[in-house]
């Protein structure tokens, strides 16, 4: 595929992620800035770390919430962790959902917590697929010998 077309696609994709859909925030651009010649795969590496981390946390959350007696403190701590990593990665919508989750948790509303968990999973899955698509395009650009355009 034409590199320029790919680059264009990439820009469309990322601007949609940033501006129209609000999946990403400035933190992600900072991550991209951190990526340089010495650490060419920094973003992918961190995002992959985040995927694993988030997957684990979501499973833990599901387990914790499924207990007969729900330990809200534990839930709160886990969601806080997820919120922290999401903030670091710039996953804005996931982070916002985490904030909602924490509020529900503070109120001790189990039903709302489950609602939040579902939303969180949904957001996370969407985010993951978007990012994976983005990375695919990036790989294609790199493979085609092009460079990533500045955003």
């Amino acid at each position: 595929m034409d590199v320029r077309l790919l680059q264009r696609q990439w820009v469309d994709h990322i601007s949609a992620l940033f501006f129209r859909e609000g999946f990403l925030d400035a933190q992600f651009t900072q991550l991209q800035q951190l990526q340089d010649a010495s650490t060419p795969d920094f973003v992918v590496e961190v995002v992959t770390l985040y995927f694993e981390d988030a997957d684990r946390l979501l499973n833990n959350l599901w387990n914790t919430l499924s207990q007969p007696v729900v330990d809200f403190k534990k839930v709160d701590a886990q969601v806080h962790q997820l919120k922290g990593s999401s903030a670091s990665i710039g996953a804005q919508r996931v982070k916002n959902t985490c904030v909602c989750f924490i509020n529900c948790c503070e109120e001790g509303d189990l039903e709302a917590c489950f609602g939040c968990l579902h939303r969180l999973k949904l957001e996370f899955t969407q985010w993951k697929s978007k990012l994976e698509a983005l990375f695919r395009i990036e790989q294609q650009i790199v493979a085609a010998g092009g460079s990533l355009p500045m955003i």
Binding site: A26, Q27, L34, D36, F42, L49, G84, S88, I151
Partner: protein
């Protein structure tokens, strides 16, 4: 979103209150019923009390009445008896009289006339007797003889001649009142006959039954008394008595009228009813006196026995009240009064109790409201903190993007837009920070630091912030620090700078012409002029006087005019020598004034200048912008620094804000040689250089002198161009080449007013600048236009505001000093990369993603980063001695959180320090130390996602040096890192 929760919570609270009130309503109703029951019971009790007291009173009244009745009745009975006895005694005496004078005298010494006369005269002795009569005992055998003797025949009671009887008792003597009895046979009446027989048998007086008397028809009784012929022994028998009987003396008691007479004489006659009865036959009492039917008050009566001296008859007196004794008013009033008093007491108690309950209820409500208000206040502060943080985060994103945008290729207009957007964004961030400051101050969480800093360079920094705008506006911006203000002070430079920036910013905003002058003096020296000149300007007599302020414009507070300035300077000079002796004084009170010649503050708004969110007038914010929060923050900060802020302002003349601040003198003189940042970085290559300053205005020349003096340059002042030229040429002539002033500084307005001579000279110098001796000419200009004007005549133009560093740069340019060293010039701004490059930094976070990002960010700035995933790992890595220069620590971690880890690290450090001290003390050479002291305190910065004030407090409490928010923000990271890294010179570089 918080706001809505807040409202929700509040409304929930209201609902709770309402619910509580609703639940209280039945209890209130119950209480109402209880109250009424209590009142009813109390009233019943009162009725009982009333009745008891009343009955007692009535009873005691009745008892008194009865006692009175008894005594009255007895008294009457006794009197009647006495009177009766007196009468009977007298009759007895009469009997003896008759016996003596009628029977024992022969012939009889007594006849009817004598008897009548005597008895009439002695009637007063017998008040109870109507009259007395004497009847002689005449046997039938003696009748004729008797009749013939008397000359009348014996008649019966019915005035008939008496039939034949065994014996007769005709009346021979009679009192006049009963003369009709004469010749009547007393034995002819059944009653009298029985009496007579009884009397002569006993020898005592005898009474008849009561009967109607002949004449008066009153009830009466007849008393009969026997008269014996000879002295009879006391124990004579009945027969002897009958034999010895000579006659009978009788008298009628008119009991009714007599008793009435008697009673009339006694007190209380009307009140009682008296009855006298003959009760010989107890079953049929005969009424002798008084109403037969039982009239009067029968419930109370008294019976007194009467003894009339007749042993066969019994009499009694019965007394009653004629009417029921009156119940006294007191029997009603006294219980009523008592009841009223008790009711009042009960009411007072009830009212007091009710009031108490009401007050308690109010108090409880107040407490509740107070609690709610406090909660709302806390919520507000938290809300402010949170919201400002929440706004700051996206704003940082916006600014970051703008930064990136500016790095790209943009055409000039795009660049302009982007720059404008960035400026606006920065202004917004600044505003949010102000709000956050305000919230912090309100929550009492702002603390003033105490670090050494250089006041002069801070002021220079502030000035450089406003230099662009002041040039644009053509305002003269200047700073002057008195010589005796110590170079390094200990205090909070950030806050000090904030105050000055705020005041100068305000001044710049509101000033269109003239000047803004910042002055710093020691408080004790500036006190004197402050008081001395307070009123000189008030009279408005200044119109003719030349105003000698910095720019020649009038200022609101004439404290800064040249006259005072001179005084201050001379004070300074005189104090400089004495100052060293005062070095030991720890506290230094600075007085800082910011004077402008702007629009001033209207008089009516002057008292609310320091109120938050209040501007002088609403149109101000339209014309000049701003929130009005700055001054209130400044005031708080000044107060935190132990000072006061106030101002003088005249509309259309200007304002002068003055504040004092108590700072500590920096005692660490030993650190001076290390050239740490607190000490001013000014080039030293100008030392002992000489310049001539041509300036008409003394204040301005003092300011210029201040800056040059900091560079070590000696200044000679020239008031006009002639003097200046003289100075330059004279020195030339005197061959004192070595000390010749090399530079002429000219103020812009002096140049434009300068005479032809100077202009010519300048032109000459300019054209022949190869002449070695020609002094360099430097122009001091305020605006860009000055620069253009002056460039033709002078070597170089220095743009105001003057700063030591900028002056130095210009001088270097002018003198083309090639030996200038970059090291000596202040290298600002110091970038994050410089700060962090080569540093060993430990990052602790349990979240791998965060850890990775933080490490990458720090690496980007050249730091050598090591990672630890838990507090325990970090502790093991930080075992002393270690190589790290700083540590970034996540706050929330499982097992051991950041606070705990920091506490342990600090503990380790303290222990090792103590050990080092012991070692140092025990080693013979006290100066030898194992490790330099600064390495023992590892800077630890908290990394936290939510920057709430309390978290920051806790960070400091457990020994952390500061905090940065996650994800990293360049500016914040720089500030946090600069605070501790910059204080340590990079050893390796």
């Amino acid at each position: 979103m918080r706001i809505f929760w807040g409202v929700g919570k509040y409304s929930e609270g209201m609902v709770n209150v309402c619910r509580a009130m609703r639940s209280e309503i039945p209890s209130a109703g119950r209480r109402w019923w209880q109250t009424w029951t209590a009142w009813t019971l109390w009233i019943l009790l009162m009725l009982v009390v009333w009745t008891v007291i009343h009955c007692y009173n009535v009873a005691s009244t009745m008892k008194t009445a009865e006692e009175a009745l008894v005594s009255m009745c007895d008294e009457r009975a006794r009197m009647l008896q006495d009177q009766f006895a007196v009468s009977v005694n007298h009759v007895h005496a009469l009997a003896i009289l008759i016996s003596t004078f009628h029977y024992q005298k022969n012939p009889s010494a007594m006849d009817q006339e004598t008897f009548a006369f005597y008895t009439g005269m002695t009637a007063f002795e017998r008040p109870l007797l109507n009259g007395v009569a004497y009847a002689q005992r005449v046997l039938h055998s003696e009748r004729e003889k008797f009749e013939s003797q008397q000359g009348w025949t014996i008649k019966t009671m019915k005035q008939e001649p008496s039939p034949v009887q065994d014996e007769y008792a005709p009346v021979i003597f009679s009192q006049e009142t009963v003369f009709y009895l004469e010749a009547l046979d007393m034995m002819s009446g059944e009653e009298d006959r029985e009496n007579i027989l009884m009397a002569r048998a006993t020898g005592k007086s005898v009474l008849t039954n009561p009967f109607r008397l002949l004449e008066s028809n009153h009830l009466g009784v007849v008393l009969t008394f026997p008269v014996y012929r000879t002295g009879l022994p006391q124990d004579a028998t009945v027969k002897e008595r009958v034999e010895a009987t000579a006659g009978y003396l009788g008298g009628a008691f008119d009991v009714e009228s007599l008793v009435e007479n008697l009673l009339r004489k006694l007190a209380g006659n009307q009140d009682i009813v008296v009855n006298v009865h003959d009760v010989t036959n107890i079953s049929d009492p005969l009424t002798m006196y008084g109403p037969s039917n039982s009239e009067g008050y029968t419930a109370l009566s008294r019976v007194s026995m009467l003894d009339f001296g007749d042993q066969f008859r019994k009499h009694q007196m019965v007394c009653r009240y004629s009417q029921k004794p009156l119940i006294p008013w007191s029997a009603i009033t006294s219980p009523t009064g008592l009841v009223v008093i008790l009711m009042l007491v009960a009411y007072i108690l009830y009212a007091a109790q009710k009031r108490y309950v009401m007050v308690m209820e109010d108090c409880r409500k107040m407490e509740e409201l107070k609690f709610q208000a406090e909660a709302a206040d806390i919520a507000k502060t938290q809300f402010l903190a949170t919201v400002s943080h929440e706004i700051r985060t996206p704003m940082n994103g916006v600014l970051g993007m703008l930064d990136m945008l500016l790095d790209t290729d943009l055409n000039s207009s795009q660049k302009d837009y982007a720059q404008t957007a960035q400026v606006c964004g920065k202004a917004l961030i600044a505003l949010i920070n102000e709000v956050l400051d305000r919230a912090k101050i309100e929550a009492g969480m702002l603390e003033i630091e105490a670090v050494p800093f250089n006041l002069r360079s801070i002021l220079d920094n502030v000035l450089s912030l406003f230099s662009a705008i002041s040039r644009e506006k053509g305002i003269e911006l200047a700073v002057f620090v008195s010589d005796n203000v110590p170079e390094v002070l200990t205090g909070d430079p950030g806050r000090f700078r904030q105050i000055i920036t705020n005041l100068v910013g305000n001044s710049v905003k509101f000033t269109e012409r003239g000047h803004i002058l910042v002055q710093v003096h020691l408080a004790k020296h500036s006190n004197i002029p402050t008081e001395g000149n307070a009123c000189s300007r008030l009279n408005g007599l200044d119109t003719g006087k030349k105003i000698s302020t910095l720019s020649g414009f009038e200022a609101a507070d004439d404290r800064n005019s040249w006259e005072n300035f001179k005084m201050l300077l001379s004070n300074d000079a005189s104090q400089v020598n004495g100052f060293s002796s005062e070095k030991d004084l720890k506290n230094v009170t600075l007085i800082v004034s910011v004077e402008d010649t702007g629009i001033g503050i209207p008089f009516n708004a002057q008292d609310r200048v320091f109120t938050p969110f209040m501007q002088a007038d609403s149109s101000t914010s339209r014309n000049y912008g701003g929130t009005g929060i700055g001054l209130s923050i400044s005031k708080c900060l000044v107060e935190l620094m132990g000072g006061k802020i106030n101002f003088k302002s005249k509309p259309n003349v200007g304002s002068t804000f003055t504040f004092t601040a108590v700072l500590e003198q920096c005692t660490e003189r030993s650190g001076r040689d290390s050239e740490g940042p607190p000490f001013e970085n000014v080039p030293t290559c100008f030392k002992r250089m000489k310049v001539v300053l041509l300036d008409e205005r003394p204040v301005r020349s003092a300011v210029t002198n201040y800056h040059l003096h900091r560079l070590g340059i000696n200044v000679e002042f020239a008031q006009n161009s002639k003097m200046a030229l003289n100075m330059l040429s004279q020195k030339n002539g005197c061959l004192r080449i070595g000390t010749m002033p090399k530079i002429l500084l000219i103020e812009m307005d002096c140049l434009s007013n300068a005479d032809v001579c100077l202009q010519k000279q300048l032109l000459e110098w300019k054209q022949n600048d190869h002449i070695l001796d020609a002094p360099k000419v430097i122009l001091l200009g305020t605006s860009e236009s000055d620069k253009a004007k002056g460039e033709s005549l002078v070597d170089i133009v220095i743009m105001k505001p003057l700063r030591a560093s900028s002056v130095a740069v210009c001088l270097q340019q002018a003198l083309e000093m090639e030996n200038r060293s970059r090291k000596e010039l202040p290298n600002r701004p110091v970038f994050l990369g410089n700060l962090l490059s080569g540093k060993n930094i430990l990052v602790v976070d349990d979240n791998k993603v965060n850890l990775r990002v933080a490490a990458a960010t720090l690496k980007k700035y050249g730091a050598k980063v090591e990672c630890a995933e838990s507090g325990k790992d970090a502790l093991s890595l930080l075992k002393l001695p270690h190589k790290f220069d700083a540590c970034f620590m996540d706050v929330q971690m499982p097992e051991m959180d950041g606070f705990e880890a920091t506490r342990q690290i600090r503990m380790m450090e303290n222990e090792s320090r103590a050990q080092a001290r012991i070692k140092a003390a025990s080693s013979p050479n006290g100066f030898h130390r194992e490790e330099p002291p600064h390495e023992q305190h590892l800077p630890i910065l908290a990394m936290t996602a939510d920057v709430i004030l309390a978290t920051y407090e806790e960070c400091l409490k457990c020994g952390m040096n500061g905090y940065v928010s996650k994800p990293f923000d360049n500016e914040q990271l720089y500030q946090a890192v600069a605070r501790f890294v910059a204080s340590k010179p990079i050893a390796s570089s």
